[in-house]
Subunit: 371 residues, 2 copies
Amino acid sequence: MTKTKTKKGATALPLNTILNGDCVDAMNALPAESVDLIFADPPYNLQLRGDLHRPDNSQVDAVDDAWDQFASFDAYDLFTRDWLKAAQRLLKPNGAIWVIGSYHNVFRVGAAMQDAGFWILNDVVWRKSNPMPNFRGKRLTNAHETLIWASKGEGAKYTFNYEALKALNEGVQMRSDWVLPICTGHERLKDDKGDKAHPTQKPESLLHRVLLGTTNPGDVVLDPFFGTGTTGAVAKMLGRDFIGIEREVAYRKVAEKRLAKVRKFDREALQVTASKRAEPRVPFGQLIERGMLRPGEELFSMNKRFKAKVRADGTLVGGDHRGSIHQVGAALEGAPSCNGWTYWCIKRDGKPISIDVFRQQIRAEMAERPN
Amino acid sequence: MTKTKTKKGATALPLNTILNGDCVDAMNALPAESVDLIFADPPYNLQLRGDLHRPDNSQVDAVDDAWDQFASFDAYDLFTRDWLKAAQRLLKPNGAIWVIGSYHNVFRVGAAMQDAGFWILNDVVWRKSNPMPNFRGKRLTNAHETLIWASKGEGAKYTFNYEALKALNEGVQMRSDWVLPICTGHERLKDDKGDKAHPTQKPESLLHRVLLGTTNPGDVVLDPFFGTGTTGAVAKMLGRDFIGIEREVAYRKVAEKRLAKVRKFDREALQVTASKRAEPRVPFGQLIERGMLRPGEELFSMNKRFKAKVRADGTLVGGDHRGSIHQVGAALEGAPSCNGWTYWCIKRDGKPISIDVFRQQIRAEMAERPN
DNA sequence: CCGACACCTGAATCGTCAT
DNA sequence: CATGACGATTCAGGTGTCG
């Protein structure tokens, strides 16, 4: 596995290797300006308090590892500024960096990146298609994570494969929000006991898009928080060289085993990101938020037998019934079910129109600029 | 337009008014702990270099106003920490704050919020359904902005209308990514010359979701960067009071004109799907006192695995366990907790019914004859 | 081999009130 | 302020078993 390559007289790089130890020390031991891309998935500094149970009473397996514990925001900032400084030194002048985080840490990381001189090119939102819900109903479902993409400094060049990403996105410019599922099933690595090998393994589809879009074949990609080696695996598939740094022996072992199995140009890997979209679901509430319908307005049924009033949260009140457009329609008709979209009408310019017309308008907008 | 309301002897608030001047001075002139929600859309500190042209050589009307210019990150940080401190002072203990930004400023703002003691509840991605493309093809389409929602501090309470947002989203939990169009068409305010009145006018749909989800009717909402008054307009529609602060006379004028035209939704429409948590508590013992259940009767669990006997004091005996309906349910299931109301059933006319039905009967009576 | 269904799981800052 | 009782709360998708 260990190979080295000599770059025109410079110190040899430990390519396609996982280095042991602290990431700052390991980075500082490598030659300056020798790496094309850094992908970093640092600890998020989640500050979890007690246990959390699902409504079915099963317990959520929390991220409570020692490596995610910091005494304070200040301690986390010191840690962050340290490794970012080492990363700055290591990048080639035209290199770039990606960092992923959540609201717990990403604001501090982003500010530290700007302070370290990195020039932010985009922030990218990874919208999870299957996130864990908010079981207590106390907040919004935390359904995304944020990636920051930055060049080495203001005015620095960087690699951006515009056409490749456009092609990945069915011919339209790739946007800053990416819908991808979390890492589950057979892709999720297990340890000897059958438990997950790492609490926060990232999906290969995410790294595929990052590396395809912002590196070239033969580039050197460094991951200072290598974990189970998703960055290395995708780099190998795509014909890039990688350097991993990981201090936990258990993660290194799993990563070594994983990487040994990876073959370059795995066709399956290229299919991971391709996803077909069904007709998008439009919540009725959007018609109110967008001002297409006003709270307090009156709908009437297609057969003109019933009326109902729209409320600000997208529910209806009709007779004694309140609920969704479907529920109230079904209740009034005494039917087991009802498609509220085609059941309810409203007067516009004196003429009755189906509320489904508004849904079609929204879908048309979405179709114009998909994903 | 100018109204005031006196809060139990405290200084009167200038409700439903646009205050002139610097937002920090204006906030500091208001009484401490007097505001339920702050919505802030501060300058983004866009660092645009030179003019931007579309492929057809038409020029993009960029944000180049003086109020968006800062000499350095440090200057922007000072400005940010200043107004956040004033905002902290102004919020009621159970108040909350929303701040919107882009990658240019949101990381610095988020870090400053954490440093000021705010406790982040969610970051929310406003995914624009119709963003401006990246004309040069050098980066990803910047298709989103980020909102940060935070309570006044760790452990502080906050308003969250879970059921209303769930209703808005067709019955599934609202997520942290919101798809909404940018402000265009008739909603986009124009000045006398027909140009857009403000470079970054936010859509009303965005504020609708924020205010519906995290305030109650009658709450006081303050916007220290009022602009053309989207926050005020939606607050007025939704029956909330607002206070705006805006130092540019041109924006104030546009906002005044806009607000005069806004009508409040009718009272019934503002009723929103309520949470069960708000319903009155019914002691299980009342079912026995009222003769709905008789001591000695046998309950069985929803899953039919366990039985328990009702005692005269409203406790149960099941297996070796005795105690409340919740305690016995949890003990029998070996679960950390159990909602006895939905767990236990009883036979009536040969059919199993949930004991929660009896609670609902009592609650319905209480609603008819309050006190 | 297929469909139905039960079961499991995911970077989570996930109560409130009375005593 | 600590403690304990009450009781509210989940979505998408994969895996594996059974008939």
